[in-house]
Structure formats: C-alpha cells, structure tokens
C-alpha cells in the first residue's frame, strides 16, 4: 500500500504546520490560537508516523502517543487559563493582555 514517497508526507506536514503558524500569529481569538497549536502538533505527529513507517521503527508511534498525552494536558490547562482570563477581562483578544509589556 505504502507506495507514496516519504517526501510527500513531509511536505504535506510542512504545509499544515505553516498554516498553523499563520493562525498563531494573526488570529485575535485565544481559542483559535490554541486550535492552531493543535494543528501544528498534528503536523509533527504526521512526520513521526511517516518516518516510523519508512524506517520500520516503533519508537515514532510511541512518541506520537506521548505527544497526544501532552497535547491533552496542554488543551485542558490552556482552556482553563482562557476561562479565568475571560472572567477577569471579558475579552479573548491576546493583544489586550499586555500587563507585563514593558
């Protein structure tokens, strides 16, 4: 089945990762920024799985397993922070959170 060259997967995940970077840089909604980070993590996961297949090593799949655990923790903590920030400021705009800006 796997007749698709490895480079195709790598280029696809580079494109997905860059789309996620655009979301983190330009969106002004914290929830969408967090979603873009999830997209970037998934692009990296795709690279891990593709290399695992083409090098015949299970370590790549195990790494994806751990990335999923960390992503779940990150989403939970990130959304909890978003909720408490929204309670204090009634806003989800990251540009308005500049209390520590010099």
């Amino acid at each position: 089945m796997a007749l698709v060259p490895l480079n195709y997967y790598l280029i696809l995940s580079a494109v997905i990762f860059s789309i996620g970077v655009i979301g983190v840089l330009v969106r002004r909604n914290l929830i969408v920024v967090l979603m873009s980070i999830e997209l970037m993590l998934n692009a990296v996961n795709l690279t891990f799985i593709a290399f695992s297949r083409y090098l015949g090593a299970m370590a790549g799949q195990v790494t994806v397993f751990f990335v999923m655990a960390v992503a779940a923790a990150e989403a939970v903590i990130g959304l909890a922070i978003i909720i408490s920030v929204f309670r204090h400021r009634q806003s989800l705009d990251p540009q308005e959170m500049q209390l520590l800006k010099w």
Binding site: V4, L12, I31, I49, R53, F65, A69, I82
Partner: protein, 164 residues
C-alpha cells in the same frame, strides 16, 4: 500515477482545505468543526501508514475528547459575539509563514530519506507491538506522562474554580 498516490493527493487536498478553514474562517464554531475534519483526515493518513492503533487513538482522544472540550468552552464563552474585525498583521504573518513553509519544504526535500519503505510485517503498528515497546523500552516516560496528566487535572480544577 498509481491508486495510492491519487488517494494521498485527495486526502492531502482535503486536509489543506480543512486547515485553511481552521485558520481563516471568522466563526469560531466553524473553526472547531474544520479542525475535527482535519484530525479525521490525519487519522486516515495514519491508517495508510500502518499505524492503526495510533489512528484509533487520534479519533478517540483528539477528534473526540479534546474537541468536545473546545466546543464546551466555545459554548460557555460565546466568543463569536466578541470577535474583533481583524488584526493588523495578516499580511506580515502570512509572508512569515510562507517563508517558513518554503524553508521546511526545501530542507525536507533535500534531506536523505529512504526511497522505499521497509517491508512491513503484519504486526507492525498493531496494539500488541505498540504496547510491548511502551511497557518495556518507554516505561519511564509512560509513568511520567501519567503524572503529567494528574498535574493537568489538578491544575485545571484550581484554575477554573470560582474564587470566593
């Protein structure tokens, strides 16, 4: 042009489309639904890469649990009513990300990669082999991940609790 390559192109085109919707649509609920679609498409790619267990986990954990959490938060906060017109840095961000994409693609296209995949055995990527390497070679990271999840649970409860 063989059938697997055509199938890959089809999935890849849908995946890029879903990712663009995640980033560029203004409605947050549409973003979340498009992200679910993108995660499903990535799970399909995992299945074609002999990783059925990770693909199933992708659908269950990501497209299931994490996205339900996102939708719950969207429902609580109702952020569509508060969406600002647009940021200043759209052009800047897009140019920067395009440069990054070009750089990544150049590096990945010229890196030394095996042209042909190793012949996959029947058990490669099965739950059995994944569990075997998880509980022998990677048992310490596995335990650390469980502690991390516990800390995340406690942290989420503390953060989202209403102060008295």
């Amino acid at each position: 042009m063989t059938l697997p390559i055509l199938f890959f192109y089809f999935i890849a085109a849908l995946l890029v489309l879903a990712s663009l919707v995640v980033v560029f649509k203004r409605n947050v609920v549409h973003n979340a639904i498009a992200l679910v679609a993108a995660l499903f498409l990535i799970a399909i790619l995992f299945f074609t890469l002999h990783a059925p267990m990770v693909g199933v986990l992708q659908v269950l954990v990501y497209a299931g649990a994490i996205m339900v959490l996102f939708l719950f938060v969207i429902m609580f906060l109702n952020p569509t009513a508060l969406e600002r017109p647009r940021a200043l840095g759209w052009g800047f961000g897009t140019v920067l990300a395009s440069l990054l994409a070009g750089l990544l693609m150049a590096v990945m296209n010229h890196s030394e990669t095996p042209a042909d995949p190793l012949v996959a055995t029947e058990i490669f990527g099965s739950p059995e082999t994944l569990a075997k390497s998880l509980f022998t070679e990677f048992v310490l990271p596995f335990e650390i991940a469980s502690v991390l999840l516990l800390v995340a649970i406690v942290g989420a409860v503390v953060l989202a609790k209403r102060e008295h």
